[in-house]
């Protein structure tokens, strides 16, 4: 390969990297500029409960609460389930079945979210309401459980890759030392794959925070924090469901539009903060 071709290749790789960084920055800046109106007019009152565009009241607390609690439920269910499934596929399942299992699970990730939402509305919400004897199955819990199914493939596939990529010698050495398979998994393999599994969970977290369609259909869309606040069997609202329901109704350039941009900006801040905290907390150690 000539030096010229090489420099083209390099230029392509470098420019596409900078392009993705630039896109993130542009989104951040555009969101901030278009939400500036709302932040300057509403000020700290944005952290209140009442949202009523016709009276210029834009309180976002209930939406932040909804977003965080839905994500919390989703990860609470999907994290153990996902990692355990990954361990099963990588370590226990015979190698020849591995690809079939993986592709079946990856199919889950390919299903459009609106389909999850429709199934959720048609069946799942009904089951939840009859199981807990609720007036309606459109609750924070329903949305959270559905979301956990949606983020599951992300966690499983990436964690499974992390475990599968560990060289065979580690398993052989720990077997040679007389460790049981259970000890091999918990004492040898999981610590090595830890960082990659956390990366998988982080990606799942991002998807859970940003998921719109399925959550919007299932959560009930009411701007309210349930009483008491851990009562997940009540309807709520997430930032994304609010955006999905109201962005079309707000006039471009109005304060309402700006406020909706502002909650989008807050969502971005939440994602960035959580990412930084996780990255910082689990500082990349040297891999193998």
């Amino acid at each position: 390969m000539s030096a010229f071709q090489n420099s083209i290749g390099r230029g392509y790789v470098v420019s596409s990297t900078y392009l993705s960084i630039a896109i993130v920055l542009v989104i951040f800046i555009v969101l901030f500029i278009s939400s500036y109106d709302a932040f300057s007019t509403v000020g700290w009152k944005i952290f209140t409960l009442e949202w009523n565009p016709s009276k210029d009241k834009f309180g976002v607390l209930s939406m932040i609460y909804g977003t965080l609690s839905v994500t919390f439920i989703a990860l609470l269910i999907a994290m153990p389930l996902g990692v355990l499934t990954a361990i099963f596929i990588s370590e226990i399942l015979p190698e020849k079945f591995r690809l079939y299992f993986k592709s079946a699970i990856e199919l889950l990730a390919g299903i459009p979210s609106i389909i999850y939402g429709l199934i959720g509305i048609a069946f799942f919400s009904g089951w939840v309401s009859s199981l807990f004897e609720l007036a309606t199955g459109r609750t924070i819990l329903t949305a959270g459980i559905l979301l956990s199914i949606m983020v599951l493939p992300t966690i499983i596939t990436l964690s499974e890759d992390a475990l599968h990529n560990i060289p065979k010698k580690y398993r052989e050495v720990s077997k040679g030392l007389g460790l049981y398979p259970f000890e091999t998994i918990t004492k040898t393999l999981l610590p090595i794959a830890k960082n990659d599994i956390i990366g998988a969970i982080l990606l799942a977290l991002g998807r859970a925070l940003g998921e719109t369609m399925a959550v919007m259909l299932l959560i009930g869309s009411i701007d309210r924090i349930p009483d008491p606040f851990y009562n997940f069997l009540a309807p709520g609202q997430t930032i994304t469901s609010k955006l999905g329901r109201e962005i079309g109704e707000s006039a471009f350039g109005s304060l309402h539009f700006s406020a909706l941009n502002a909650i989008g900006f807050l969502l971005l801040l939440i994602v960035i903060t959580l990412t930084i905290i996780t990255q910082f907390y689990f500082k990349k150690e040297d891999r193998l």
């Binding site: 009442e50 009523n52 565009p53 016709s54 009276k55 509305i121 919400s125 009904g126 309401s129 007036a135 309606t136 199955g137 459109r138 259909l217 009930g220 869309s221 009411i222 701007d223 309807p235 329901r245 109201e246 079309g248 109704e249 707000s250 006039a251 471009f252 350039g253 109005s254």
Partner: protein, 278 residues
């Protein structure tokens, strides 16, 4: 690389297959008006093969915003345009063309209807939406919490209903349990529940979603029938309108004239709305 070259042909295939000679009319807005317009568009396109009419939902607020931003030709609305919305789009001259009349009816799950709640007064409805009545028992119904279904703030059905029941079209409903959007989304929620109260357009009732009568202050009970909408007795009625930016011209005008014609008004009546001529 060469193997995958055919992928680059796909866009050209799409371009080649699409017919660019058609005149396109975009309409969107109220899900109450939507069934009428989509059937009318189908009929109109049969006689005008060179015209393509794309009909989208979204709610009255969406229709007004998109006509205001001059993204679409026809907006469908089931409420009045607010002054705020007119002020928002100084460059747009909204022209409102009524095409039919409709009632907004309080609806309940069939279980509640069968248990004997067949009429409510405006005062009782207001109390339910304000959160002062929370159980059907207080209205001599079964001992079940009322699942109060509210609609998104810019929806036409909500504006018309809240104006009459709570006195302010943008009133907050503290008693609401769910906030939903389109008529069909709300219809689904009411069918799924056995203790729901919601607000729907007259055309969206069926055996599982029962419209209830309204008790007037003088004690008279007014059923939500077509006759009562035509004679204006039913208290919550509204016009169904199309809006355009400036007087409609060309093919848009032809389409609107078709809806206003006898044939178009028959479609309005087949959808259980009241023709504008009555």
């Amino acid at each position: 690389m060469k193997k995958n070259l055919w992928i680059f042909c796909i866009p050209f295939l799409f371009i080649a297959c699409s017919n660019n000679n058609k005149t396109v009319i975009n309409a969107s807005g109220s899900t109450t008006v939507l069934p009428v317009i989509s059937i009318a568009a189908e009929q109109f396109m049969k006689t005008h093969p060179d015209v393509k009419i794309i009909v989208n939902a979204g709610g009255s607020g969406v229709g007004i915003n998109q006509v205001g931003a001059q993204q679409i030709e026809i907006g469908m609305i089931s409420r009045n345009i607010t002054e705020k919305e007119i002020a928002q789009y100084p460059n747009t001259n909204f022209v409102v063309i009524p095409i039919g009349r409709d009632a907004v009816v309080p609806v309940v799950s069939s279980e509640i209807y069968d248990a004997g709640i067949k009429s409510l007064s405006i005062e009782q409805l207001a109390k339910i939406y304000r959160g002062e009545i929370a159980n059907w028992k207080e209205l001599n119904g079964p001992d079940k919490d009322i699942l109060v279904i509210d609609k998104e703030a810019a929806r036409g059905t909500r504006h018309v209903f809240m104006e009459i029941v709570l006195g302010d079209k943008e009133a907050e409903a503290a008693g609401a349990d769910l906030v939903l959007g389109a008529n069909n989304e709300e219809q689904t929620a009411i069918v799924q529940s056995d203790a729901a109260l919601g607000i729907l357009s007259n055309a969206w009732m069926n055996k599982d979603v029962k419209g209830i009568a309204i008790i007037m202050p003088n004690g008279e009970i007014i059923e939500p029938t077509l006759a009562n909408i035509i004679n204006g007795k039913f208290p919550i009625i509204r016009d169904l309108d199309l809006i355009t930016n400036g007087e409609p011209t060309g093919i848009t005008k032809e389409f609107i004239d078709y809806i206003l014609s006898a044939e178009g008004q028959k479609i309005v009546e087949e959808n259980e709305y009241v023709s504008i001529s009555k």
